[in-house]
Amino acid sequence: MAKFSKLAFNKGELNNQLSAFFADLLEKNAVDALLAPMAQPKKGVMQTLVTSKQNVAGADPFAPVVPVNGARLASSLTSNPSGKKIGMVLRSCEVRALVELVKLKQANLDDVVLIGLDCYGRYENTDFLKLRAAGATTEDFLENAQAGKTEADGCDVAGACKICEFPTTDNVDIRLCIFGAGPGTLLIEAVTEKGEEALQTAGRKFGDSPTGRAEAVKKITDARVAAKNAAFAEYRNSTNTFDALNERLAACINCYNCRVACPVCYCKECVFVTDTFRHKGEQYIGWASGKALKMPADTTFYHMTRITHIAAFCVGCGQCTSACPNDIDLMPIFRTSAEKAQGRFEYLAGRSLDEPQPLSIFDHDELVEVTGQVK
Amino acid sequence: MNPQTEANKDLWKAIYNTGDLQHCFNCSTCISGCPASFGDPPLLVRNLARKVMYGLEEALFEDDTPWACVSCSRCEEMCPMDVKPFEMILHIRQWQASNDETRVPPSIVEIYKRGYTQAVGTNVETRQALGLDPLPIITNNPEQLAMFREMLMKTPVIAANDYMFGG
């Protein structure tokens, strides 16, 4: 039976209570270090790594912003493990991306205590800074979001978040639950023994019950799924030829920033920057003969290839759209492809650590329809 | 059935002592084409061989099916292990007849009497019509018939049951 421990807070006290909780974790050595979103000295909220309790004061995990997908940071911290036990406060798209990275040997969760957050969505980084500058607080955002309103003076949460059907986190040790928890209350859930043990060492008491959480989660999820289906249908009807795709990608300058931001694009150097794609002059002339060759070339080729590379791992975090300097909405291209690719192999990115990734396994008698040939 | 009590393991020496019988590996070739196996009860040469091997004396003794054999010798032609099943059938008949005179078939009495089991030489007119001389049947030649009967009397089955043959 899931174990819950209540964290009550008066108005304006959420982050202080959370900092105190994180401080307990560190002080009582439930974890040796903690990676959590914290307010930066100047402005904005970024994931911050701290090892002692006095540095957690700025904790602001529920701030509606994810400047960089945490999976990438978790990978750097654990692909060559530090030997220290690290608590990580991540949202569902970050955890799901991390699960895929673990399977690609880019991260290792043995000494990690994953702390999952309920998520109403995130603003684009620039919008968030603008709102914070105008005095918006995390608690305001949570209250409005609970009432179903994420829009605030002209800005709204990212497109990916509006259609994300995973508001809560799985494969985590601890969950910070705010869905359906009512004002002034937050429930800390121990999901695994590791989580429970960490909470007990941090002195948490269990026994509370998450009244109304299931319905709240269902409500949010159903709304998101409906939005997703509509968005996918709209995308698929509008962009069903290469011509339409090229139109969408018209502004692309091959800066490959979407690759840098993507948590599951794990190559050290993308093949498109290696010498495989450093062509000779005669080749460009060859391609251009009789045609009009847009330069830089290999744009659609790059995006199509990236789709084949990560279709099986894409968790729909939307960082590609956020990262594009020319505001190309890449997320629908990748999420629709991912849904079809993962669907074909009954696979779901981030669902489980021991589910083999689609292209790493094969079977003698499967997919007979691909060739359609009986022996 | 308990072979230790109800079987005579040397029965085969009494019935069919050529050593061919043992080669049988029950492949059923003999029975799957045997004309007598269509009968009811069917003649199952394979099973007879088995009974001899086990030494099931009574069962074999009361078994009438060996007499159903039409001696087409298909089983002999096709038996892969050269068991010569047709020979075995004849030996079983001999063994039955020599231990139980009711087994002596009336046809032997006919042979003793008339030299043939079936009426022979009765188609005189048809042969004449076809310009053929009549058949030289043994009954027209008494000394030969006598020599023939003397020879038969020497065989164990007839010698043991001479009363049947007007001794």
């Binding site: 698929r236 962009t239 069903n240 030829t241 290469f242 011509d243 339409a244 795709l245 090229n246 990608l249 093949v271 391609w287 251009a288 009789g290 045609k291 009009a292 060759l293 847009k294 070339a297 290999d298 744009t299 659609t300 080729f301 199509m304 290839t305 789709i307 084949t308 279709a311 099986a312 629709t336 492809s337 079809k340 690719a341 669907g343 074909r344 192999f345 689609p358 292209l359 094969f362 079977d363 003698h364 008698d365 499967e366 997919l367 691909v370 060739t371 040939q373 022996k375 | -």
Partner: protein, 142 residues
């Protein structure tokens, strides 16, 4: 322009399908010249990039020929190829290139006639489908 002659890039596995093509050649089974044969050591060696490159460069169809499951000289190359083609058809069909333009067929070394049939069927079916949208000079090659 004369009747549309489709260009089909064919990746043939060196062990089975390429041998079948050789065999078709020597036993006078001529197959349509639309098939542009590229020899690869195994159908498992065909990288999704090659298929995308071929379509973006104006190929009207791509045919991958491999050994029957169990025949592969490298034991399971063909099975991996089959998964990749399944993935590729899912992704490309959104943009108009579906299973009718991307074929994977098992053609054993002794099946010269099968190769001829597959080549003819594919050429005919793509001729009916018409050129791929990327195969016209005006298309901006991205």
């Amino acid at each position: 322009m004369s009747e549309f002659e489709p260009k089909i890039v064919a990746f043939f596995c060196n062990w089975c399908t390429f041998t079948a093509a050789d065999l078709a050649g020597t036993s006078r089974l001529t197959y349509p010249p639309n098939i542009k044969i590229i020899r690869v050591m195994c159908s498992g060696m065909v990288d999704p990039k090659y298929v995308i490159k071929a379509f973006l460069n104006g190929a009207d169809g791509v045919l991958i020929g491999g050994c029957w499951p169990g025949d592969c000289h490298y034991i399971n190359g063909n099975l991996k190829a089959r998964r990749r083609v399944a993935l590729l058809t899912e992704l490309l069909s959104q943009y108009g290139i579906g299973p009718e333009r991307l074929w994977l067929r098992w053609i054993a070394a002794s099946e010269g006639t099968m190769l001829k049939e597959v080549a003819e069927q594919m050429t005919a079916s793509i001729k009916k489908l018409g050129p791929s949208e990327l195969n016209n000079p005006q298309a901006m090659v991205a």
